[in-house]
């Protein structure tokens, strides 16, 4: 759907609609059905009522392609001309249930807490009646016939919609922008119109449209019972009922209306899906602006003639020699060959497939984690630090693709390992903990079984052995009364305890490597200090090598021996923690350190709190922007013309460590600093 036609459409709603899968198909089918509904009775209305008792129950003939019914009436003509009545009935019934249901549901959600509770119970109890039963009951009151059937089916399905709307309204209502709208003084009705309804529209539109086909079927059910459309009027339901009775004689008489109902349902679901996407501004691709950016980028590249296209700018990792990071790693391999490395990553590249070719989110990342070392990876959001760690654990979500010359864990190459062995190597060699411990734990199972499951399965320990080990591990992460802790559920622990239990869980297999991705970001400072101490203890006592990923340079300073600084998917600086934090080399590292506010009174001088914080102008390049040179060049105060043309490799700096910067490593060739 995202063909060239979509590119020309300017209106964001239309663009989004056209780009949604099935949007055009749904709209086309629906348009066809509507045209049929208008012209059907005009063209086929008369032939459909002509009875010819000479040819009852015909299967197929030149005059009657789909055969005839018991009175010799043409099935095709009847099916086509019934479109109008059927659609009118189905749409009206769905409209009744949507309007009544959504109205009641939203109103209930807007009530005070007590009244809302009562309303909710009322909706729930009406839900306990099957809709068709409710409809039968209503038809008995209203009376049989098309009108009665529509009202009965519409009201019968309303409780379901009411509950849906009430749920959505409650969840949208609890979001912060509602609170801030209230704080700004937005009134109740306006709040409902402008804030609640638009934010619930998407699922409600889809539910409403999807129910049209359901309503047609439900009305057919009433037709079958003789309570729906009364002869001589007919809809697909009556045709279906008649056709099914003679299905072995004239199969088409039942299949034709069934096919039409199916077609209507399909087209409405496609259409509804596309419509709800089109109404969602988060999915609007605001084309013109993005195009201008791309043009600017192209114009910028045109300045330095010859270097063509992404292929040239980003050599494939397999041809490692062309990659800037390649030679450096090769040196390192020779130098450190004697020391066993816990993790080796070489030329890691992570790409996201997209319409305009794969976009690199991480590119040319190489590093090694020595046994027992704590390596910090620092960077801002989008720098690729988390993706890098996930790639080591082979946990990257679809559709991201990884390529790398090497990813080794404890000397085992992971990229070529068969899945079964991979799970085993990772399960015993690597533990990972994440920012939100609660989401990493199964809320429905006790801490004890979560801690011991892995050990019992992977290492064949008995229940008692595994529990004894779990108690020991919990002690190591300073959880008092570990035996009691084993019996508790995750939500019964505080955030700091959950995170420490996650660490204990990771340590159960005695892994050589622990990857901690922002492990303390969600925690309070005093608890953060405790968790950092636990990690430090484990590193010291067990010799577990740790990769600590954090955006917080202070946290990095607490724990790490060595630090990698990542920017826009690449490593820009690497070095010993003390040197790197005290004397950063890369302009980005410098700027990052200067932007951290320092506690007044804790640092002697030079950093008066009165001084403005340093900021970095501009923003990092997005993955879809093809930056030929250094990705920081556009924001860098030191950039020279070479920086925008050529990508600097990670090379040894005079001050120690490695830096990917032409200016710092003194590779300036007589050019004036801009």
């Amino acid at each position: 759907m995202a063909g060239p036609a979509a590119g020309r459409i300017r209106h964001p709603v239309l663009r989004a609609f056209v780009r949604a899968p099935g949007g055009l198909i749904g709209a086309g089918l629906l348009l066809g059905l509507l045209v049929l509904a208008v012209v059907g009775p005009m063209i086929w209305g008369h032939p459909a009522t002509v009875t010819d008792l000479n040819v009852p129950y015909q299967v197929h003939s030149p005059e009657h392609p789909l055969g005839t019914d018991s009175l010799g009436r043409d099935v095709l003509a009847r099916t086509l001309s019934a479109t109008r009545l059927t659609l009118v009935l189905g749409l009206s019934a769905a409209a009744i249930s949507a309007v009544v249901g959504f109205g009641i549901g939203t109103a209930v959600a807007a009530l005070g807490p007590r009244a809302r509770g009562i309303g909710r119970r009322a909706i729930e109890s009406s839900l306990s009646f099957p809709p068709i039963l409710l409809a039968l009951f209503l038809v008995a009151i209203i009376g049989a016939g098309a009108r009665g059937a529509v009202i009965a089916i519409g009201l019968g399905a309303a409780p379901g919609f009411a509950r849906l709307a009430e749920n959505f309204a409650t969840s949208v209502g609890s979001r912060e922008f509602i609170a801030s709208a209230k704080a700004t003084g937005v009134g109740r009705v306006r709040l409902m119109q402008r804030y609640l309804l638009p934010n619930m529209a998407e699922p409600l539109v889809l539910a409403g449209l999807a129910y049209v086909a359901g309503a047609i079927i439900d009305i057919s059910g009433l037709d079958f019972l003789g309570l729906g459309v009364q002869p001589p009027a007919y809809d697909w339901g009556t045709l279906l009922t008649a056709g099914v009775q003679s299905i072995y004689v004239t199969p088409f008489a039942g299949m034709a209306p069934a096919f039409m109902i199916m077609l209507t349902g399909t087209s409405l679901v496609f259409f509804g899906e596309a419509l709800s996407r089109a109404l969602n501004p988060r999915l609007w691709v605001t084309g013109p602006r993005r195009d201008r950016r791309a043009e600017r980028a192209r114009a910028g590249r045109a300045g330095k003639a010859g270097l063509a296209g992404p292929a040239a700018a980003r050599p494939a990792p397999a041809t490692g020699a062309a990659d800037p990071a390649g030679p450096v790693v090769a040196d390192a391999v020779v130098a450190d060959a004697a020391v066993a490395d816990a993790v080796v990553v070489e030329n890691l590249r992570i790409t996201l497939p997209s319409g305009g070719g794969p976009r690199a989110l991480v590119d040319g990342v190489s590093f090694r984690l020595r046994a027992g070392e704590v390596l910090g990876i620092v960077g801002e959001s989008g720098s690729g630090k988390t993706l890098t760690s996930l790639a080591i654990g082979q946990l990257l979500p679809h559709p991201l693709r990884t390529t790398a010359t090497r990813i080794e864990l404890g000397g085992t190459e992971l990229t070529t390992l068969p899945p079964g062995r991979l799970a085993r190597v990772l399960g015993t060699g690597l533990a990972m903990i994440f920012q939100d411990p609660m989401s990493s734990m199964n809320p429905a199972s006790r801490a004890g079984s979560q801690l011991t499951d892995g050990a019992r399965r992977h290492r064949g320990l008995s229940r008692e052995e595994a529990r004894a080990e779990a108690v020991q591990r919990l002690g190591e992460v300073r959880i008092g009364d570990a035996r009691r802790a084993l019996r508790r559920y995750p939500h019964q622990f505080s955030g700091g305890m959950q995170q420490r239990i996650m660490i204990a869980m990771g340590l159960m297999a005695r892994p050589r490597v622990l990857i901690a991705d922002e492990p303390t970001t969600a925690l309070d400072v005093t608890v953060q200090a405790q968790v950092l101490e636990v990690l430090r203890d484990i590193n010291a006592s067990e010799g577990t090598a740790i990769i600590l990923i954090s955006h917080n340079l202070g946290v990095i300073n607490q724990l790490c021996d060595r630090v990698l600084v990542m920017y826009a998917g690449r490593v820009v600086e690497e070095g010993d923690r003390e040197r790197l934090l005290a004397d950063p080399q890369h302009p980005y590292t410098k700027a990052l350190l200067a932007s951290v506010p320092v506690l007044p009174g804790t640092v002697p001088s030079g950093t008066s709190p009165a001084a403005e914080l340093k900021t970095i102008p501009g923003r990092p390049p997005r993955p879809d922007e093809d930056v030929p040179g250094c990705s920081f060049a556009a924001r860098c105060p030191l950039a020279i013309s070479r920086c925008t043309a050529e990508r600097p490799a990670l090379t040894a700096a005079a001050a120690g460590g490695k830096v990917a910067c032409f200016v710092v490593t003194g590779a300036i060739t007589g050019e004036a600093v801009r």
Partner: protein, 339 residues
């Protein structure tokens, strides 16, 4: 007269056995033109206190005086009185802006609701432009939807919306917590600049002490709903009097200097069941569990200690210029650095 005065304010959630006193007997005065930080861990009641000031949550007892008018349990015109003077900026700007409306529409609405001068559409648009320029955004940003902005930009929009009402007091609730450090730096600089240009008063809530240190002249420390220390930032950071403040400061991982030690043991207790006596005693490094002879901490809540109540009620934190800066306050039986 102070711009904002809290007098023994308490906020309670629920009732009976499930009651939770989120803010317990807090008294505080904020002078116009100063910035006061509220520091504390999760569950300390700092956000609840802020919400109580703008009447998003009702107070259970105590009095809130804003610009000379009692606004406790405000209804009708008193709500307007608050809205005209106090606005809030939240932590997650994406969550606090309606995703279905353009930034311009959101701002124009805030202008129309709050600024009586800007009545016509043209006036509103001019004011929207002015607001966007104030937070250093391109006026063309009005045509875009929240999802088209980066985290830092959208926080600027949220600040612009808060400024639309022309408030005197801005409550900043963890406004930079969700941002990258380099973006945080730009927002902090902007906030300092706006304070100077518009003469704003800030009540700044953050778990990050360095943010408080950068934005505020003085700070109060909260623990389990209570105010435990109030002091000018320079004093608080160099020589805290309450052991909890000390442990908070010791826990801040610094980029330079020594590695921290975990001085507070355990987690913050469940605020539903606060410990008896001094609420901090189970975690206190110099409390009854660490040092003998400090049984007072187990028995008496320093807040209810008659001898000290006066200092709490009389001189909580005040801004520079009021002459009461020296009047520090620490709710501790054995304050640090005491003779």
């Amino acid at each position: 007269m102070s711009l904002l005065e809290l007098d023994h304010v308490a906020v309670r959630y629920g009732a009976g056995r499930h009651a939770l006193t989120a803010v317990d007997d807090v008294s505080l005065a904020v002078e116009a033109g100063t910035s006061i930080g509220i520091v504390g861990e999760s569950g300390s009641g700092k956000s609840t206190l802020a919400r109580a000031i703008v009447q998003l949550v009702p107070t259970a007892s105590g009095r809130i005086t804003l610009d000379g008018r009692d606004v406790t349990g405000a209804r009708g015109s008193a709500v307007r009185h608050i809205r005209d003077r106090v606005q809030m900026v939240f932590q997650d700007p994406f969550a606090s802006l309606n995703p279905r409306r353009t930034v311009g529409a959101t701002l124009a609405e805030a202008v129309g609701l709050n600024d009586r001068r800007a009545s016509g559409g043209g006036d509103r648009q001019a004011r929207v432009t002015e607001l966007l320029e104030l937070v250093r955004l391109d006026p063309a940003a009005r045509y875009r939807y929240p999802n088209e902005f980066s985290g830092g930009q959208i926080q600027r929009v949220a600040i612009a919306r808060a400024l639309a009402a022309g408030p005197r007091l801005l409550i900043l609730d963890e406004v930079t917590s969700a941002l990258d450090v380099s973006v945080q730096a730009a927002i902090l600089n902007l906030l300092r600049d706006l304070r100077e240009r518009l003469g704003l008063t800030y009540l700044c809530i953050s778990h990050d002490l360095s943010v408080i240190g950068y934005l505020c002249q003085s700070a109060v420390v909260m623990y389990l709903g209570q105010l435990v220390e109030a002091a000018p930032c320079a004093d608080l950071f160099s020589a805290p009097r309450h052991p909890y403040s000390r442990s908070l400061l010791d826990s801040v991982p610094q980029v330079r200097g020594e590695r921290i030690r975990a001085t507070a043991s355990g987690d913050v207790p469940n605020p539903r069941f606060p410990p008896p006596g001094c609420r901090y005693h189970p975690r206190c490094a110099v409390g009854p569990l660490a040092q003998p002879g400090r049984e007072a901490c187990l028995q008496r809540d320093p807040h209810q200690d008659d001898g000290r109540a006066a200092s709490l009620n009389g001189g909580p934190v005040t801004g520079p210029g009021s002459g009461a800066v020296g009047g520090r306050f620490a709710a501790c039986h054995f304050p640090l650095g005491a003779p």
